[in-house]
């Protein structure tokens, strides 16, 4: 018997550049999976171009970048711009990791809706994404 068609939230999780600290991104991935989301990994040492391309191919709803070794003030805005250029401007951009407070306005301006700084409870990340998804689905509800 076919179950009713579900629309799980699809989330791409990635790290840019030479950042190889994977503990945080792995914990978040498992938390999102537990919450019923599909989590796509791209691997380490990815360029902004590669992550943008993967996000388009995978048609994810959310792109989440984990950053623990600086460089985020350049690579994250670059990723946001590439996504817009490639027709992925409708995707929710979030980030997390070691990101100083003073960088938040810059990232917000670049298109990142939310930055989860160190010490964030994964339940807060899940709740934030679920809330966003509910609103997106409601806004997209087909006229039929």
């Amino acid at each position: 018997m076919a179950p009713p068609a579900a629309r799980p939230l699809r989330v791409l999780l990635a790290k840019l550049g030479m950042d190889t600290h994977t503990v945080g991104i792995t914990v978040v991935a498992h938390a999102l999976r537990e919450a019923g989301m599909e989590v796509i990994f791209t691997g380490l040492k990815q360029s902004a171009e590669a992550v943008a391309s993967a996000a388009i191919q995978e048609d994810v709803d959310v792109v989440g970048i984990s950053s623990l070794s600086a460089g985020h003030t350049r690579s994250l805005p670059r990723l946001a711009r590439l996504l817009r250029e490639q027709g992925g401007g409708d995707k929710l951009l979030v980030a997390g990791g070691v990101i100083p407070q003073e960088d938040l306005p810059l990232l917000e301006q670049a298109g990142f809706a939310r930055v989860f700084t160190m010490g964030t409870d994964t339940r807060d990340i899940v709740a934030y994404l679920q809330q966003w998804w509910r609103e997106r689905l409601a806004a997209e509800a087909p006229p039929s």
């Binding site: 999102l32 791209t42 691997g43 391309s53 191919q57």
Partner: protein
Amino acid sequence: MDLAAELLAGKVAAGARAIRWLEDGDRRGQELLRQIFAASGRAHIVGVTGPPGAGKSTLVDMLITELRARERRVGVLAIDPSSPFTGGAILGDRVRMSRHALDAGVFIRSMGTRGAAGGLARATYDAATVLDAMGYQVVIVETVGVGQDEIDVVALAHTTIIVAVPGLGDEVQAVKAGLMEAGELFVINKADRDGFEQTRRHLELLLHLRAHRQDAASWQPPLLTAVASRGEGAAAIADAVDAHRAYLEASGGFADQSGRRCEQQFLMLAREAVLGRVLEQAPPQLLAAVRERRIDPYSAAQHLLQGLAGAPAA
């Protein structure tokens, strides 16, 4: 330009959105599929299956490189299991293929099984049709790590590669039954490992026995070896994939296989549709009686059919 036209022109975002609609069961996906269907049927669909840990993703990565060197545009559908409890999934196959991320001739899509049981995702057929219509000449379908009878990929693919590895303990336990009878190409990956000779001898024996029940003109599956992590064995595998396609085309099997695939999907959709209709008409008391074990399932099904036969036509 509308989405169908963009898709047929090979635009990545359009194809990606189409696959999303199809796997989400969005009605727009079906409409789109109708518009692009005529453009499909050209791609060589290559299945890659085998037990968990056999190195399927790494082998696919290596095969992409080889096919790109042969100037083939390659689409990849990489399937990982969804949790039966939460529906969530961690899809990590593209990690091993990340060096192709910026190659415009490669489209990689990760799919969760979303409740399907045979080693594929529910929408794998449709996703393959989309990549086919976009102009990818080879569509590689990497299954979840399979056990002994999750061989739905065989019905989907023109050519199925079975990936085995040495040292799984009990003599190729994981490639017996269905898998051994089904594949068109056998690859022992991680061939530098202990136990390689034993695995090779065993597979040779099984393939030899399989040849006994086939006539001489039919395809004889080659047994190849690879160390995919070092890129070894790629050319021979790509050669064998091409040779099998040539064999299928010469024997008329290529179109046959594509046609059978459509037939199978039609039957599956029909089953779902008919079952839905029938259950709509099933009296709730009957379902309750089954659940409470007051009637056995066979008798209940019989009752239901009699009820339908006796009912006035809708």
